[in-house]
């Protein structure tokens, strides 16, 4: 039976090739990918090609020979790990996450294959944008940090902190106050010879229930469109299309004695090196790039501690940071 025109159009649209940009790399795919909007200006760099394939296609490429297990994480009593990462020299990386599926990233980051479970795109693609694409970006020379970032006044600011520190809440509040959204949780940086550029990631944030309750309904709809809920609310936001020079880094701290923003005069190298993302890739090229970028950051980008104390909301801290950034400019 011939599909009705609207069905055929929608089906065709879902397989139309698209080109986007995230984590400092050009990306080409042909499946629905919320959070990866088409690039407004076509790039000239070689894209990383994304494809959705059956799991046995990935394993056929991987076997025989297996590879070296780099990571196996258990989150419960199951004998099977919830997440694994394997590496095969000259071939690439095999990443598995329970409930999110299997993925392959080629050694040079040029090709990504995903074998997701039957699930909504926004749901299984949490793995794609949270781990797989950053992995490809790393292999293609970008350095990644556990950070959120927004643009303010032509530049960008990054918020670094561990999981649960409040990066997402702060990013959402900054966006509600006029900042442009760059990325949540994973930030790709690159020294372009003149400045350190902060690249946009995926245009998705995951907001905890407590922070959602703190955002007024009218602001919630202004923030973006809700994709779904899975322990947190997943929102698709309008995202910057290109990179912005990094003008400040704020380290979120819940242990500082007094509230507010204080300058970090001599950043501890461990603070920066420990904030990078993806520890499993330890190639000489990556390690060299990581050290170099962290040293460049320490010398070129002002750094501050933003203390999160009881009673200080993400909204309050966002306003303080914007005021602080304005003062930096004058």
């Amino acid at each position: 039976m011939t599909p009705a025109p609207t069905e055929r159009t929608q089906a065709a649209r879902e397989h139309e090739p698209w080109r986007s940009r995230a984590f400092g790399i050009e990306i080409e795919g042909s499946f629905p990918a919320p959070g990866l909007p088409p690039a407004r200006v076509a790039g000239t760099a070689r894209p990383t090609r994304l494809a959705v394939v059956p799991g046995h296609d990935i394993d056929r490429r991987w076997l025989p020979g297996g590879g070296q297990r780099l990571l196996a994480e258990h989150f419960d009593d199951s004998p099977q790990p919830a997440r694994t990462i394997d590496h095969r020299a000259g071939v690439g990386y095999r990443l598995f996450a329970r409930n999110f599926g299997l993925a392959f990233v080629s050694e040079d980051g040029d090709e990504v294959l995903c074998a997701p479970p039957e699930d909504e795109p926004w749901s299984w693609q949490r793995f794609l944008v949270g781990r797989i694409l950053p992995w490809a970006a790393l292999l293609r020379g970008r350095e990644l940090f556990h950070a959120s970032a927004v643009t303010v006044g032509g530049g960008s600011l990054a918020v670094i902190g561990p999981t649960g520190a409040g990066k997402t809440s702060l990013a959402a509040q900054l966006v509600l106050r006029g900042a442009g959204f760059l990325t949540d949780d994973v930030l790709a940086l690159e020294h372009d010879g003149t400045a350190i550029q902060a690249h946009p990631g995926a245009g998705i944030v995951s907001v905890r229930d407590g922070e959602r309750a703190a955002i007024a309904a009218k602001d919630w709809t202004r923030l973006g469109s809700e994709l779904g809920y899975s322990g947190k609310s997943y929102i698709e936001l309008t995202r910057e299309d290109g990179p912005a020079p990094l003008r400040a880094i704020y380290f979120l701290s819940r242990t500082a004695r007094s509230p507010g923003i204080t300058a970090v005069e001599a950043p501890d190298p461990r603070l920066l090196l420990g904030s990078t993302f993806i520890e499993s890739v330890q190639t000489p090229a990556r390690l060299r790039n990581q050290l170099s970028l962290c040293a460049d950051l320490a010398q070129a980008v002002p750094m501050f501690t933003a203390s999160v104390t009881a009673g200080l909301t993400a909204a309050d801290l966002a306003q303080r940071m914007l005021t602080h950034m304005e003062a930096l400019d004058t």
Partner: protein, 101 residues
């Protein structure tokens, strides 16, 4: 000091190709690309390593830094020896008894 300590201080130190160094605000960090290990160097240690890599012997560096920082030469020599031994143990420097070209 033992005779081996004297020999070490009269030797020439080089940084192998698999070691990269970068300066941060107050510290320097040396990275051994073969082991993936990072090693922090305070400003004095970084200055010592720079002078050694430039071709001076340990004795020469100790004299220079003792003068620069107005510290007893014996004390600087002891610290320098400890630094060189630690760096050599971690594969961050190589020791040779001939002056490099």
């Amino acid at each position: 000091m033992t005779p081996s300590d004297d020999t070490l201080l009269q030797a020439y130190i080089s940084v192998p190709e698999h070691v990269v160094r970068r300066r941060f605000a107050e510290e320097a960090v040396a990275l051994n690309l073969e082991s993936g290990q990072y090693h922090g160097l305070n400003p004095i240690a970084a200055a010592m390593l720079d002078a050694l890599e430039a071709g001076a012997t340990g004795d020469e560096v100790a004299r220079q830094l003792a003068d620069e920082y107005e510290q007893p030469e014996d004390r600087v020599r002891t610290d320098l020896l400890a630094l060189v031994q630690a760096l050599a143990d971690r594969g961050l420097v190589e020791v040779d008894d001939t002056r490099p070209d």
